[in-house]
Amino acid sequence: MININSLSKEYIMGDNKLLALDNIDLSINEGDFVSIMGSSGSGKSTLMNIIGCLDAPSSGEYHFRDNNVSTLNSNKLAELRNKDIGFVFQNFNLLPRLNAQENVVLPLLYSGKNLKERNQLAIEALESVGLKDRVHHKPNQLSGGQQQRVSIARAIAGSPKLILADEPTGALDSKTGLEIMKILNDLNAKGITIVLVTHEDDIANYGSRIIKMKDGKILEDKKNVNN
């Protein structure tokens, strides 16, 4: 599903060059549950953003399913993000003015689904994360765990093939974090590929494969024996 070949990302700040990703090779298969670990600044988020077609690499190749991503225009990238990829962010990134249902409807709006269909899908997605009774709550009327569940519902509403979760439990207590992980685990069981970034071992252990990064390089990439 994901094929990355000698991919680098360079940030230039004044005279300084910073190599956030250094010649990375990585492939991820459909149905994988990959946990990425590594110290702060090792390039995990940078990699996630490139995989998610939010950011472009400085060099190297990235194939997502049948697409050579670096050749795609911004409309096609938006379409990939819309249909095939779902994001779950550490800080939820919900729109504050919209209620839970409207937030979940957002990607469906951009994919052009009709009113009835998208409301149906949004309610189903919210139901599947256990928020059936919170559909009309605004983000500031929800707890952190509930907000993260809304953002998972938003990520899955358009039935994507891939979910990218960058420290989804980072802002939550450990009990709530485990609830979120259970939801992601269930999604993976249904065949959705998951790439997860975390600092915590017991969260990473949900993955079937654990990648360790350091200074923009992949240090270690192995099957998770504990899983």
Binding site: L54, S74, N75, A78, E79, R81, N93, Y110, S111
Partner: protein
């Protein structure tokens, strides 16, 4: 993404800032209300002029007696009647451009009929008076030659007089007493309505000879008359004829070219032109205000949209992360600025209507509400919204997804 969805999203964010949106559209509000008022003043003046021509007839000059003040003391407008029927005949003779002249004597007096009393203006004249003044008959007829020549006691009355004396019943063949003299009503004139200064239908018309013999013998001795309405053959000849009338009259009255005349010539077209001119000046003034306010309003919208885009950078990133295309973002912000300007437009239209109503009530100016002006206002305000909203919207649409998402 459909337009209804875009509108839905835009109104969501506008509502969270409703006061700011309205304040932003202040320039548009003033601009649009000026546009509406301006157009309405313009078309009001045009309609009023048309109505006046309809009422008073076109191509007419009016010559009136005027007490000349060169003898030292003004004697008041009504005290001297310097015009005579001889003047009238001479003018007809000398100036072929004149098609007809209607002479007029008048007095204001009590009319009694049917046990009712009414004070009206009584005019003594000839049948030309009806043609020249665009008078139509609702009922009955004009004077017959024999009645004019013999000074019969017949009268034609206006609608207001009919209403007050006959309670809207048919007045034909009824007898009215003018200054205690009985007259038979032979005709009823169509209503013309009022002007700002007079009710034209408050009139009684009798043959010139009858009036001079029985009603105003003292006031208009001999062949004196109060005024005459001169009808010129075509409008091109109006101004030349006005000069010619002046020349001939001065000759007849033995007044030198630069002496003070004992008559005054009113050119109705002149009055109408003045009316049109003053409304034109007003319109230019308002157009300037409208133009400036619309531009200021547009810049206001651009400014607030730039602020909005910056404020919502992260939000734009979120939308892009879930699949918003550049076009979606562009349209969303464009529709938002369009909505601000349309809100301004709506308030402006309401304000404009208020101003129109106020001005027409207060100044008694004829203001006509032109529906085109409302359409025009919508076109104006929406183009302002789109033109000035485009730059901020494009700025939003061209944001890099990851930079927008990371923006704090």
């Amino acid at each position: 993404m459909s337009i209804t969805d875009l509108i839905y999203l835009s109104q969501k964010s506008l509502r969270s800032n409703i006061l700011r949106s309205i304040l932003t559209s202040l320039g548009i509000i003033i601009g649009v209300s000026s546009v509406i008022t301006m157009i309405s003043i313009g078309s009001g003046a045009r309609i009023e002029v048309e109505q006046q021509i309809e009422r008073f007839g076109s191509n007419n000059l009016i010559v009136r007696s005027q007490s000349s003040s060169n003898r030292g003391v003004s004697m008041g407008a009504n005290s001297v009647n310097t015009l005579t029927l001889k003047d009238m005949e001479a003018l007809k003779e000398e100036l072929p451009a004149i098609k007809a002249i209607a002479p007029r004597v008048s007095l204001s007096t009590q009319i009694v009929a049917n046990g009712n009393n009414w004070l009206a203006t009584v005019t003594g004249t000839t049948n030309d008076y009806f043609d020249l003044g665009n008078w139509k008959f609702e009922n009955g007829r004009s004077f017959e030659e024999e009645e004019l020549a013999s000074g019969s006691r017949v009268a034609i009355i206006g609608k207001t007089v009919q209403k007050n004396l006959f309670d809207n019943d048919s007045p034909i063949d009824e007898v009215i007493r003018i200054n205690k003299v009985p007259f038979t009503v032979i005709g009823l004139l169509d209503a013309k309505g009022g002007t700002a200064w007079a009710d034209l239908d408050d009139t009684v018309i009798v043959p010139l000879k009858t009036a001079k013999q029985r009603l105003v013998a003292k006031k208009f001795p001999g062949d004196q008359i109060r005024s005459m309405t001169i009808n010129v053959r075509s409008s091109d000849l109006l101004f030349k004829t006005e000069k010619d009338v002046d020349t001939v009259m001065r000759k007849l009255h033995k007044i030198s070219a630069n002496g003070n005349p004992d008559f005054v010539i009113r050119n109705y077209a002149q009055f109408l032109n003045a009316r049109q001119e003053s409304s034109r000046v007003m319109s230019i003034l308002l157009a300037t205000v409208a133009g400036i306010s619309l531009i200021v309003g547009g810049i206001g919208i651009m400014n607030i949209m730039l602020v909005t885009v910056t404020e919502r950078t992260k939000e734009i990133g979120v939308c892009m992360s879930v699949g918003a295309k550049k076009r979606d973002i562009l349209l969303q912000f464009l529709i938002e600025s369009l909505m601000i300007s349309l809100i301004g437009g709506l308030i402006g239209i309401a304000l404009g209507l208020g101003v129109i109503f106020g001005v027409s009530e207060y100044f008694k100016w004829k203001m006509s509400l032109d529906y085109m002006s409302i359409v025009l206002s919508f076109v104006f305000s929406s183009s302002i919204g789109i033109i000035f909203g485009f730059y901020p919207a494009r700025k939003a649409a061209n944001l890099n997804p990851i930079d927008a998402l990371r923006y704090e």
